[in-house]
Structure formats: C-alpha cells, structure tokens
Symmetry: none
Subunit: 234 residues, 4 copies
DNA sequence: AATGAATGAGCCTTCATTCAT
DNA sequence: TATGAATGAAGGCTCATTCAT
C-alpha cells in the first residue's frame, strides 16, 4: 500500500492522461494528499517532495496552488474546521434539549475525528503556522470548546443535564473525542460509527440526569433504545 | 521573560559560580530544561542551541550527557513514564475495587499530565525517536492502556463497574486524561489537583454502578463524601 | 591562483552565462573538479564548499548530482577504474606474449597514474567510503593485482618471462606504478609518456628472459637458468 | 583482538598499577599506540580519544606529552625517519659498490616498510602537519630519494650498474618499496625478511650489469652463493 | 502550468583543544 | 600528572523556496 500509494485514486495529474481538470480540483487533491502525508509522517518529517511525488508532479508545482508549506497545513486544517462548523450549525438549528445537542455533537465530532481532515484539527500544531493563521486556529478551537460548554449549560438550564462545571465537563468530553484523532486507524476493528455511538453514550451518560438505560427503563417499554455497540462486552 | 528566562532557577551552570555539582544533577537539569523547551516550541522547532543557552552552556556541552537530540527526547519521555509506572505500581498494590483503582489511576494520571515530564508522554512523537526507542515507547503506551482496561474489567467482575466495553471505555477515559497534557497551562485558573479531582469523578461516574452522589445518598446519612472540587460550579 | 582558480576552464556554470548544458556534463564537471580538489588538499581537508565555489555554484547544488561527499569520492574512483578496465580489456584482446602484455599494461597503467582519475585509484582511501562501495573498490584492486599476476604467469608459461614468483613480482611492479600517482606532478620535467616508456622497460627488464637491449644486441640463443627465488614455483 | 586491544602489552598506565615510569617511556608509548591507530583507521578518522582509551588514559592527558594531534603525527613520522637515517648512515659507511649499497638499502628499507613507524613514512600525509614540520618531512623525503639516486650513480660510475637514468630508476625502486607500506599486513603469508630478500633482487636485477647469478657464476670461485642475509654488511 | 536547477538558512554532530581542579 | 567538563570551529546535509525556461 505504501508503495503503490493511492496516487492513482487521487491524483488529477494522472501520467499520460488528460490534465485539464479544474484548478480547484487540483488544489483539493493536493490537500487530500498532503493531509495524508502529514498525518502519516508528521508535518516536519514530511517533505513537499513526498507530497508532490505521490501526486505525480514536482515540488515547485505545488507553489502554483499554495504559497508555502505552512499554508498547505493551514488549508488542511481549514477543511476539517469547515466540517465541524457545518456540523455545529446543523445541531444549532435543531430543536433538542441541551443533552440532545451535546450527544449529537459528540457523535458527529467523533465521526469527524476518524477522517483525515478531522484528525488534522487535533494532530497539527498551530505553532507551525504563521501567527496570522495560528490565531485563526486558536480562535476556532475556542469556538468549539465554547460550543461544548454552551450545550452543557443549556442542558443544565433545561434540566436534561445534572449540575456540573461546564468548563471541565467540556474539557473531559472534548479530550476524549480529540484523542480519537490520535489513535483511530482506518481499517481497525472499530468503525467510526460504532465509536461515535459508544462515545455519545459513554461521555454523556455521567452527565445525564437520567442515564440512557434508566430513562428508557423507567419509560416502561422500550427495552433498548440503543443498539449494542459492535464488540461490546467482548 | 524570554530573555531573563528561568535559568537562574534551574541551571547548575550558574555563570561565574561554583560548578561542582554532581554529573547526574546536571544531566537531569538538561532534561528539565529540554522538556520545557521541547514542550514550549515543539521538538522540531526547538534547537539544542536554545536548550544549551538557557543552561548557560554551549551546544556541544550537551553531548557530554547525551548522544543525540532524539536521545534527550527519549529520556524526557522515560522520566515521565517512570512516574506513571510508579503510580501504577502503587495502585496495583492497593486493596480496592476495580472502580477504586480506576479512580485512583485517573486521579494520579491527571496530575501527572499537568507536569512537564508527564505531558511529554503524550505531546512527543515516537516517530522522532530511533526505532529502538520508539518501540519502547509504543510498548509502554500499550501497557498503560491495558492497565486502564484491566481495572475496568476488574470493576465489572467485582460489580463496582457497570458492564461495558473495557476497550472503548479505556480509550474514552485515557483520551480525556491525555488531552490534559495538551491544554493544561501552569498558572491557569485550575490547579492540577482540582482537575484530577474533577476528572476522577466525571470520567468514572458514568461507569459506576452507583454514582457518587447516589451511593452516598442511599447510604443513608453521609450527605457528601467528597469535598467540593475547587471551582466547581464555577 | 587560489582566487582566480581554473573555474573558467572547467565549469559549465559560467557566471552570467548560458546554463543549459546537459545534466551529465555537469555531473562530470563536478567530478573533475572534485577529484582535483580532493587530490590537491586530501579528501578530509577538502570541503564541498570549496568544490562548489570553484564551480561557481553553492554547496547544496552538488546534492542535485550526488547523494553525499563519499559518493562523489566513489564516483571519482569509478571513473579511474573504468579507464583501467578498458585498458586491460584491450590488452586482453591483443595477441602477445605474457611479457608483451605485461609491458603494455605497465605502459598504459603508468600513463593512467599521471591523470587525476587515475591517481584517485591509489590516493583515495576506501575506508572513507560506505562499506558497500569500499568492497567494490577492494574487489577491483584485487582484480588489477590478479591481472598483473596472470600476465606474468602467462609469460612464464610461454617462456617470455623468467621463472619467478608472480605474486611478489606483481607487487613490485604495481607498487612502482602506483607510486607514480603519489609523486607525479603535472607540469614537471617528465611527460607521462616518457615515464611510461621508461617504466615499461625498467620494470620488466629484470623479468624478461632476454632483456630489451641484450635481445636486440645478442640476438642469439643464450639460454640461462637461474636458481628459483625462494617461494618461486609456489 | 580489537576488543582486548593490546593495551596490556603496551600501556605504561596499567590500571591499578604503578605509574611511575619515566616520562619518555610514556611519550613513546603514546607514539606506538598512535601510529597503530593512525595506520589502522587513517589519521582523520582516528580520534585522540581512541588513542587515549587504548592507553587507559584520557584524551587531555596526551597533551602532557604533545602539543597537538599533528605533532603526534609528526613524531611518529620522525621515529620512522630516524630508522631510515640510521640505516642509510650504516650503508654509507660501508665499503661496497654502488650496486651493493643499493641492494643493502633496498633490503633494509623494505624491512622498515613492514614496521608501523616505517609505514608511517609513506602512509601519512605531510599536508596534515604544520607547514614547519611538513617542510621537514619533504626535505627528508628528498633526502631518501637522493640517496637512492646517489647509490645508482655511484654504481654506474663504478661499473656495477648499467647506465640508466638515476632519477627514474630511483623512482621505480622507491615506489615499489614505499608501496609495501600500503599492502603489507602483519601476520600475512610473507615475512618482512622474505619480502626484503625478494625485492632486493627483483628491483636491482634489471639494473645490475651482471645479474646476481651471472655474477656469481662467472666470478668463478663464487665467493658467495647465498644471498646476503638481512642486515649483512650493516 | 510545470520543471530542473539552484540557493539560503539552519541544525546536528564531531573533535581537537583548553581550563579548572 | 591526570581528569571531567566545556568550548570553538567547522562541515555535511536537508529542505522550503525561488528562478529561468
């Protein structure tokens, strides 16, 4: 896999092929390959040469699309951030209790962490960026954190969540989720969806005024509201 | 602050001063300064020159104590790992339920994460080490993970922990804790102890067959067995 | 002299000039300059900076053509070795007595020793090479030695050379020739050709069953037996 | 052998032993070890640390006896040169034909080349010395060369050697001999004496007006049928 | 748009040498 | 005399970035 690479699947510069696709398509292809290489080897060990070669182009060609290595890094991050922004926007528009929103966020965020661009949100180091961009990243991180806190605070207010310190609770939950970006390996025994399901329960159950099981249990019928996570109790 | 540095507090090579302290003391001083610089700037951006200068010595002098930059990195990690090993050993020797051990581990591990050497366990990248050492690191990480899982499994067996998937539960808890190493800043509003207290409850409450409060509540009087965490409800 | 250098004569990177010559031409130009600098200053004292500067380029530019300093050293050697291989191949194809071949080899080898690449065969130290290449060098040296011995043995067999120990005789002759690489200075009073002529006679006359002069003078039978040298006929 | 080293045989700084031997003895011990290391690894690759360690002392201790690495190199050379000077002095005082002297020189020089200090005469690079010493070396080399030429010229004058160009003949002979310093390995199949014997004949036979055998044969009584033993006439 | 070639900047590492003890 | 510790000097190598084509 490392040798064949996935160049054939991803590169718009197919050798001996038409090279007329749109500029943005190529730009994105660079980002997809770059994020992969950066995650695989680490930003500093990864060279633009490696990125370029896997795309069947040469290093200077990258400079047609990006001004610098750190700009590529930033754009990778930005794509991941966009996903999170969208996902938060959707949840914000939904009508749910604080706990519901929190769970939705945990689930969606967990899934995002299992993607390359999602992982780039937590695996890349803002200090590698120009101050200008580093600040954007930090602001966005703060934004996500605040979202977690807000959902928790909402939950406390609407009674769906037990009183607690939203700040630390948010840290705990976000930490768990962010860590997924560090250990998740595509092709492992756990699917992103399974992980997301499990985390959505696990991380919020302690906060819920009524735990999932109890809630459903008390609510009489509904023997099981949640499907058993693959591998549970294994 | 960058200029004054904290050299005066940490360096055994006080300029124009006695230089007779023991070799091991100096070796450790190098590590303390190195881990600080590495955490502050990131391993790749940090230069040995910077480390040396802050110690009032020159770069080659470092080579009296270490063979290479990556060996320094490894030794930093090793010091952190030692802390964790010790801490696990103590807990292993204790007579507690699985849940008790888990909470003890969470608490101690959280505190460790708030130290430089502790943070180095999760902020440094094993890929920067020589394969030889990288393997040691990976093995140790596996060891910690297994410890978390073991305590959970014990807890399930002894009834102190609700049935769950020990693997994912361990990931969730360890993730939360590891993340502390990324966000904790000395001098912030939260003390390591406060964080540890909170996390020890927060991360295990969802797992406990009986939550802290409920347990104490049901246990008749004993309105509260745990001290209010500093800053709780803040 | 050090300042003017001979850059103008040898460098394809003429400053402010066309820079379009072929890559191989440049690669070779690097080798020509490198062998010169290495011989002039010795491999260890010579720096790549010096080589580059004389070529009107910068040090890293050399890495476009070679992977490391020792690879350059090896390639210099290889070019000299090629010359010798060619020269041996020609002699091997010729129809001559063993003595004839030996003389031809001595002559051609002597001339080679008076060239930069030829001298590099004996002035460079294989221990400066990577084991991989060092082994190639050693093997090639053995090959040359064996060629000398073979010609001598052939000569003994065909009667053109007096019985003697081919091994030591080869050492003696090759030593004389190799030493040329150490003392020959371009621009001295002796031309390579004159040296080669003289050595071809001098080094083989003692071996010839009939010396050059005697053979032509006496032009007669005059068989002679001499006692075999210790170790001869081994 | 490399591991045990020969420290125990050569070092006056035997650990846990009396350390009171004379300064000059130590100085010489350093030189004996240094020349060995320098020959074994090459002057530049060899470090003073290595030399010191093999002597069971530390690097700075060497500076009690020598001012610099290159001074050590020079002294090694000087010791070898002394041997050659002595040997030439003896031959100069002897009453022999030019050919006789030449043969004696060849024999003795060949044997010297098989010693460490002798090899240092031809394996070390004067350019590694300070100009001051380098000049001494060059002068001495010229001296040796002139001695060869002188003996040859004497031989031509006294009729023991065929007319020839003394300069080139000297180069040829000295080259052969010098090369011994490059290929001779202690413990090989050839003893220094055997090599010297063979070279004394081989290298001069071509020059002799009458070859060894012829001379003895024609000279009727054959006062000496046996080769002159090593050091004979010395 | 793409490339081959080149550069500038910088860092790790080595080692002879010095210094205080 | 010997040593541990430290330094200064230097060189090889890497790589992001630029330039001319």
């Amino acid at each position: 896999m490392t040798d064949e690479r996935t160049a054939n699947d991803q590169s718009p510069w197919m050798p001996f092929e038409n090279r007329r696709r749109a500029r943005d398509e190529k730009r994105e292809a660079v980002l997809r390959m770059a994020v992969q290489v950066f995650l695989e080897q680490g930003y500093h060990r990864a060279t633009l040469n490696e990125v370029a070669e896997r795309l069947n182009i040469t290093k200077p060609a990258l400079y047609n699309y990006f001004r610098s290595k750190d700009e590529i890094l930033f754009e990778c991050w930005a794509l991941g951030q966009e996903q999170v922004d969208d996902l938060i926007a959707v949840i914000n528009r939904s009508r749910q209790s604080g706990l519901g929103k929190l769970r939705a966020l945990v689930h969606a965020y967990a899934e995002t962490m299992a993607t390359d661009f999602g992982a780039s949100l937590v695996r890349f180091d803002p200090r590698d960026l120009k101050p200008h961009n580093a600040e954007k990243v930090r602001a966005a991180k703060r934004g996500i954190d605040l979202t977690f806190r807000r959902y928790i605070a909402e939950g406390i207010a609407d009674g769906s969540i037990k009183p607690c310190d939203p700040k630390l609770a948010a840290f705990a939950i976000a930490g768990s989720l962010n860590w997924i970006g560090h250990w998740y390996q595509r092709g492992g025994s756990l699917t992103p969806d399974a992980i997301a399901d499990e985390f959505a329960i696990r991380l919020t159950d302690g906060l819920a005024r009524r735990s999932v099981k109890k809630a459903s249990a008390e609510a009489a019928p509904a023997p099981r509201t949640r499907k058993p996570t693959k591998g549970e109790n294994r």
